[in-house]
């Protein structure tokens, strides 16, 4: 039972990290530049994850590690049924990456 617990949802990850930092809902919303009720709706799962700039603010306010920030982006993308923003940027930045992904896909199809 010593394994690291994987957060299930964006909102539970966010809530857990915020509570660990002992920051109240209103204070945290202000720290990341959001209306408290909007932030509250996001953390309760009623609204989908905020845009990238707010995610960066969240990461900064919670002082997330690189791995935690990646988890944040991955979970945020899941709420929108989308690809994580940082991965999108990687793909855009380097034309080699789409080709690499297609090669991997082709190889997987070939292996089947």
């Amino acid at each position: 039972m010593g394994g690291k617990a994987i957060p299930k949802t964006f909102e539970s990850f966010l809530r857990e990290k915020r509570l660990k930092k002992k920051i109240g809902l209103r204070e945290f919303a202000r720290l990341i530049g959001m209306q408290p009720s909007n932030y509250c709706s996001i953390e309760s799962g009623s609204l989908q994850a905020p845009p990238e700039d707010k995610l960066r603010n969240i990461s900064k306010a919670l002082r997330l590690t690189v791995d935690e920030e990646r988890t944040l982006f991955d979970l945020a993308a899941e709420t929108k049924d989308d690809i994580p923003t940082d991965i999108k940027q990687l793909i855009k930045k380097d034309s080699f990456i789409p080709a690499l992904l297609r090669t991997v896909e082709d190889e997987e199809v070939g292996a089947d």
Partner: protein, 205 residues
Amino acid sequence: MAGTEIPKPKLYRLYQIENVAERILKDTDEYFTGYRFDIESFITGKHGLIIDVHYHLKANHDTWAYMLINSNRIFVDNQLIDNDRLEKKFRFTIGEEFAHYLIHRDVFAGCSTLEKRNRRYFSFSEIERKYIENNARALAAALLMPKGMVEDRVSQMLNGIETYSENIIDTLAQQIAHDFDVNFTAARSRLKMLGYHNRLKPDID
């Protein structure tokens, strides 16, 4: 809830409220900063309840908040969250909803929406509804202003005072409101609950 008898709301006595509060507040030092109890962190962090927003709740349903026991959620009017001037009211309101969660879960069992909750609520008599509200208000006050802490603070403030002025309760309530981060009215009412109105009769010649 077909076939299940819904219990009638009962009025809790003061000692019962204090007992519930004392039990709930056991080992909660980490949630106190001075006299201020961080009720929001306590109910979300320790009890796993979720605070959610119900936009225009007050305007449309004439209530600031409600709790849906089944989904572990407290729904709060957006103004109560956004308006800084309502922060103390926000603290007290979520305290009241948490109180419902603690002592009225059987009364509201199975109510999965506000409409169902309201239907249940209005199925009770006027006096039973008063019991529900009074219990919640009293327990919220006992959580935000724990008996022992209030008594300690009051005895500190009264130290050296031999005669009480007419406005002694108001003076105490102002300080209690400040220290415990609640509204003046809530502090005054808590002092009354604890019997200070009778204990501190002004000296009239």
